[in-house]
């Protein structure tokens, strides 16, 4: 594995988006992963529609039928991949733009699919496996506890104590080996996370969190997705 790796340098990560006042982080995490997978499959970076997931994806947990993807009220990245696989794909952002509300009806047009899911899987808790899957398969959908993110401005976040109760969906796009920690007087390896709270938040919309001990549960729910080659229409 390379010591440092960043999909942003390789063109697999689009501009930071803003979910607004809507609990649709899960849809941004899922589209980000599929955008990266589609880039690897086709060489083309296409911005995909979160609104399609918000409006049309009501996929439920097979073991808990009452727990379903529910627009601004929350969802799960794996369920979003399942929906996308079943529906036939996701449309482009420009064809189905984000509104930040879930009061609209589903306007999915199968003739305008821009990216399709070939398969998806969960990655083991092991940090080397997470890094290997990131390098091999593209950006990964991950869940995290976001309590420290409300006040985060920059640097490598490495809280002494952080709950691992997952409440936010984000996108893992890379890692670094040398985030300097002035307090601990040493370099700290970190994950690079793309968030969906706009470019004014964090480090131009990105978050760095230290690697090594599943801080804030960042290693707990990691999903990789593969895209099929699609000719957009």
């Amino acid at each position: 594995l390379p010591e440092d790796f960043d999909w942003r340098d390789k063109g697999a990560v689009g501009p930071v988006k803003n979910q607004g006042s809507c609990g649709s982080c899960w849809s941004f995490s899922a589209t980000g992963a599929l955008e990266g997978a589609h880039f690897l499959a086709t060489g083309e970076l296409v911005s995909l529609s979160e609104q399609q997931l918000v409006d049309c994806d009501h996929e439920c947990d097979p073991e808990e039928p009452d727990s379903c993807d529910s627009g601004c009220n929350g969802g799960l990245m794996n369920s979003a991949f399942e929906y996308t696989f079943k529906a036939g794909g996701l449309m482009r952002e420009e064809d189905y733009p984000y509104t930040g509300t879930d009061r609209g009806t589903c306007k999915f047009d199968k003739n305008k699919v821009a990216a399709r899911v070939a398969n998806f899987s969960v990655v083991s808790l092991d940090e080397d496996q997470i890094a290997a899957n990131l390098v091999k398969n593209g950006p990964l959908a991950v869940a995290i506890n976001a309590v420290f993110m409300q006040t985060y401005i920059g640097g490598v976040s490495c809280p002494y104590i952080c709950s691992r109760r997952l409440d936010h969906g984000v996108l893992l796009v890379g890692y670094g080996s040398a985030g300097y920690s002035p307090i601990r007087m040493k370099d700290k390896p970190y994950w690079i996370i793309k968030n969906s709270w706009g470019e004014k938040w964090g480090e131009n919309g990105f978050y760095k969190i230290c690697r090594g001990r599943n801080v804030c549960g960042v290693d707990s729910m990691v999903s990789t997705v593969a895209a099929v080659q699609t000719t957009s229409q």
């Binding site: 609990g23 496996q129 002035p182 004014k200």
Partner: protein, 119 residues
Amino acid sequence: SAVQADALNGDDPLIREVVDGQDASSSNLLSAEQHHFSLFKSKFKKSYGSQEEHDYRFSVFKANLRRAARHQALDPTASHGVTQFSDLTPAEFRKQVLGLRRLRLPKDANEAPILPTSD
């Protein structure tokens, strides 16, 4: 308590604005907080519908300044301070911008194959 100045004006990450709670009079502290709140409203283009709402958001903002200082103490390798969410209570923050459904992966979820990492 300490407040990151860069959080407030977005300019110099090396300057830390410190408010000494022991020496400062309560009116000075209130004035400093009001100043931070004005900068926050201007930077993030916030406006409130009524004076009552404004005062409530100011009280939430002050609580979040203290919260940011606690986060800074617990997370010294990052910078914590004022963000676009500084006028939201933790519950409002969770409700408005977080949205991960309770996790319970199905037993038949595909597991990614183990990849070689040594070479």
